[in-house]
Symmetry: C2
Subunit: 339 residues, 2 copies
């Protein structure tokens, strides 16, 4: 009896070890638990992470005064409290304008692990990405000059920039967005799944491991891979048209490719798809992906297995102390909020 | 020389002690530094403060899903990062509706020390107050049922309510707002001014003390008194009409009385007056108050003195860890956001 029991444990461990290797071979990678390795992945060599930049970047990320209305911050659409998104089917911006392409806000958590930013992948990294929404008329609607005007009108911000970059570095719009990106690079969420890939074979339950195996075997991993389980450009609606494709005029990049969203924290990033047309992590959503991307009909059991695995991707969010921002001054540009 | 120097110190201390007493006699009170005394003031006997309620109240305060759009939280208009306000002249709410009376969002910091809530004082305490904006059509626009529907659809919220109130207490709209109020009651901001009133006579500079003396002598203290330096109902435009009275149709309570705003953290709570029509803490604002409320022409010097004192009221904000909110479920009511 004892031998049988031990054998079962050994068999499970062997299976777990095999699965972890299989996952790695299929292109799945953990968020490194080693701070040095993680730092290499999350610090931009051209814009290295320092604590002064992270702290300032956090303030700017939460500061609604960077928007023309004074009401919308990065955190409005990429709300760190609710999975780094806004929960909207289409992002809502300046004066309640819905995203004109019907696009949903992607999560900022783990976005550092993406090889491209934006749904059409037009931006190579977070430093560049952050420039977009601040200026976009339906989002934060602020010009570069407006943003630098706000920041330079507030002495504590000027001091914080000097602390982060030295006394002689001019405060440009690009410095503002570079700094926001440094903060965003810290927003990674390791999970039990990462512990599993790193060798802690008990970190995932047998049902979650089964789901991971199905996820790999059925081919989901062909697009949802890497650290983010997403983040690269892939064709969309490969085999069959997407059920809700008639919402919005978004067509992906010039080759029709769409940036694959991360599956990390997926429970919190509803509604799903680029146009937010599927409300919950349901069988419908997983089956729809199988149908349009892989040309397969996933069974109810396979769908449930995959769903069980996906739920294990919920990660630990970094603790963020809500910033106390320095006060505006008489020089701070006037907002355009009340119609 | 030494004797002269010592005499000067003694004289300054005596002056400081006299001023602190004078301030107390005029009705100014410090935020108690003793936790027990503070607790007596900030805990509602009918809704006593507990750490479980504070933590849950914080989550609810920051949760945009309590609004019908899913985009507006208490913190949107009472943003803890920027002085507990939104920086708008008139509050902006559901689908970017400006407050129909042209009213500006009052700060949530130290609102626990107010004897009435809302600009027209129609609410006796924070528990009652919190019910207003969540339901108001131009603010969060959510019905009572909608709010309880959201909260009860999220198992972690149900557990947190049980932890805060016991297993058998039903989750009502009033329990939700009671809990938010408990969190708001923690938002007090002691400053150097409080230390001064409590006997640390070096806590205010001589110029700030001079400003406090002018503030008392000129009669500002007749309305701006108590712990909040405000928070009671007073007539507005007593002596002369307010310069910007033609903005909005707000007329105060049935007797024309208006709730006096706190002067704490005033640097961060611009724009000023109930309709936000004066943008900065300028001479213009202080002089306008002297003119319409006290019937006096404050000199440039007196105005500068008072301004110097007011700046000393900037307090230390409590550290708030930004909450990670539990995910919505398939049962969570659908939002009304995209037009």
């Amino acid at each position: 009896m004892k031998t049988l029991f031990l054998s079962a444990i050994v068999a499970t461990s062997v299976m777990g070890a095999t699965l972890a290797n299989e996952a790695k071979k299929a292109g799945l990678q953990p968020i490194p638990s080693n701070a040095k390795t993680l730092g290499k992945l999350t610090s931009n060599p051209k814009n290295p992470t320092t604590s002064a930049k992270v702290e300032l970047g956090k303030m700017l990320y939460f500061d609604p005064r960077l928007s023309k209305s004074g009401l919308i911050s990065c955190n409005t659409c990429h709300n760190l409290a609710i999975g780094g998104v806004d929960g909207m089917s289409a992002a809502i911006g300046h004066k309640w304008t819905a995203n004109p392409h019907g696009l949903s806000s992607p999560t900022v958590y783990n976005a550092v692990f993406y090889s491209q930013q934006f749904w059409d992948g037009r931006s190579p990294h977070l430093e560049d990405q952050a420039q977009g929404p601040i200026q976009a008329a339906p989002e934060m609607a602020a010009s570069k000059d407006y943003v630098t005007g706000v920041v330079t009108s507030i002495p504590q911000y000027v001091t914080a920039f000097q602390k982060a970059y030295g006394k002689n570095t001019p405060i440009t719009f690009e410095k503002v967005t570079d700094t926001i990106a440094v903060f965003e690079r810290t927003l990674v969420t390791p999970s039990r799944y990462d512990a599993f890939l790193q060798g802690n074979l008990k970190a995932l339950t047998p049902a979650e491991q089964k789901g991971l195996k199905t996820f790999i075997d059925k081919g989901c991993v062909s697009c949802h891979n890497g650290i983010a389980l997403g983040g690269t450009m892939q064709a969309f609606g490969v085999v069959a048209p997407y059920k809700h494709a008639n919402v919005g005029d978004f067509k992906g990049d010039k080759n029709g490719m769409v940036r694959v969203p991360t599956l990390r924290n997926i429970i919190q990033t509803a509604p799903y798809f680029h146009n937010g047309q599927i409300a919950t992590l349901s069988e419908a959503m997983i089956k729809e992906m199988g149908r349009i991307q892989l040309g397969i009909d996933l069974s109810d059991q396979e769908t449930t297995e995959i769903e069980t695995f996906l739920k294990s991707l919920e990660g630990k969010k970094p603790a963020v102390t809500y910033p106390i921002l320095p006060a505006s001054t008489a020089k701070t540009p006037k907002v355009d909020a009340v119609n």
